[in-house]
Subunit: 210 residues, 2 copies
DNA sequence: AATAAATCACTCATTTTGGGTGAGAGCAAA
DNA sequence: TTTGCTCTCACCCAAAATGAGTGATTTATT
């Protein structure tokens, strides 16, 4: 049967113009079928068991429950559905929240039609399509800021702290004395202008120091 | 002048066949010039101040100092050089180590010539090219394993622990009693078969539980 | 010579941690 | 309905960890 080779796509997008254009684009391809489209997550979730999509194109800035929360809820019940974010938002927080919530990819809305279709294909192949700027953000998230005020040793110590190690364990790992670890941590706290482990790690993750 | 628009590319790759094929490929493009190629990081680093490449194609499995360590050392002295990994290795550890060390992208060697050149262009545009499988690994690294033995609440508690919070702070954040936090943590330790924060976080990061 | 980085020492009060043992309430599946 | 899971809270206890203070020495690098 022909239908067996058609991938069922669902669209959640509150802007009608954009939504319609996505529907047309999806249906213009022989490989994909837009089986439904909604302007809220609530509506989408309600009909999910009937719609049975394989891929969902999801907007982030939605009325009612957000796209992020929508991803979380959908993945909880239907972990196999691939959710591809298509959003104008490219702020760190939104992007990483969406990925943590279970998105299979993240595209920004300036994407051209051909690339969007390619991304759907890539998702089917188990890939993780990302727009250029998103890929950059994601890769950068692994790297320490070049403007870190911390020395190499201090960074090492802070990384170990982040792994829940005690001063003693850190000392053993780095083959230095516990007092030295204490000294480094005191300097770290001073440089970051904090006075506890939790504050230091908070600042460190925000400023990509570790 | 014509040279102003040509991007200087350096290759570090120990396999002569592959290295030569990369050189040919790069030089077949009008936009790129392979200004040098080496079979070790040591040799590359030694001549880096003369070669002044804008992009380095870097292998991972090299004799002498590894590609990972090479990236670290080069980025330390020349943070502006983009280093694009081209490797047969696609194990989690290698990939994430390379990204953490400062790689601007990561391609696996089965990549076709056209895509490799495209990736170079993408790097120049400030992007972060990744092979499909690598992108998948990277995105997955943000997501919690579906086979986590922990409950939602336990996961929350463990995430807070990872941020260096004390039981008291966690209790405040989750609006529960400190004793409840202790109880959750005891259960977490039992489920993960550990008996300290450090061990729990170690296992959690290895098994993607947080 | 001066500065930064990394190393180590000792005191002190307060918190934190991990182990043990136990228990009640809500909920869902069997 | 009973069993099991989840989340919640309580109290005891000893050992360990933490943060603040106040130092010092050594090794590079500029």
């Amino acid at each position: 049967m022909l239908n067996k080779n058609i991938t069922r796509v669902l669209i959640v997008e509150d802007d009608e113009i954009i939504r319609e254009s996505f529907v047309s684009l999806i249906n213009s391809s022989e490989s994909f079928l837009c089986i439904a489209n909604y302007d809220t997550c609530e509506a989408a979730i309600k009909n999910l068991s009937n719609d049975t999509p394989q891929i969902i194109l999801m907007d982030i800035g939605l009325p009612g429950i957000s796209g992020i929360e929508g991803i979380r809820r959908i993945k909880k019940v239907y972990p196999k559905i691939d959710i591809l974010v298509v959003s104008v938002h490219d702020e760190d927080e939104k992007v990483f929240d969406a990925l943590c919530a279970g998105a299979s990819g993240y595209l920004t809305k300036n994407i051209n039609p051909e690339k969007l279709l390619n991304s759907l294909v890539e998702v089917l192949k188990g890939g993780a399509p990302m727009s250029t700027n998103i890929a950059k953000m994601v890769i950068r998230s692994f790297q320490i800021s070049s403007e870190s005020p911390l020395t190499n040793r201090e960074t090492e110590v802070l990384q170990q702290l982040a792994r829940g190690k005690s001063y003693t364990m850190i000392a053993d790992d780095l083959h230095i004395n516990k007092e030295t670890v204490r000294s480094h941590i005191k300097n770290i706290y001073q440089k970051l202008n904090v006075n506890s482990k939790a504050e230091a790690l908070d600042k460190a993750s925000k400023d990509r120091l570790i």
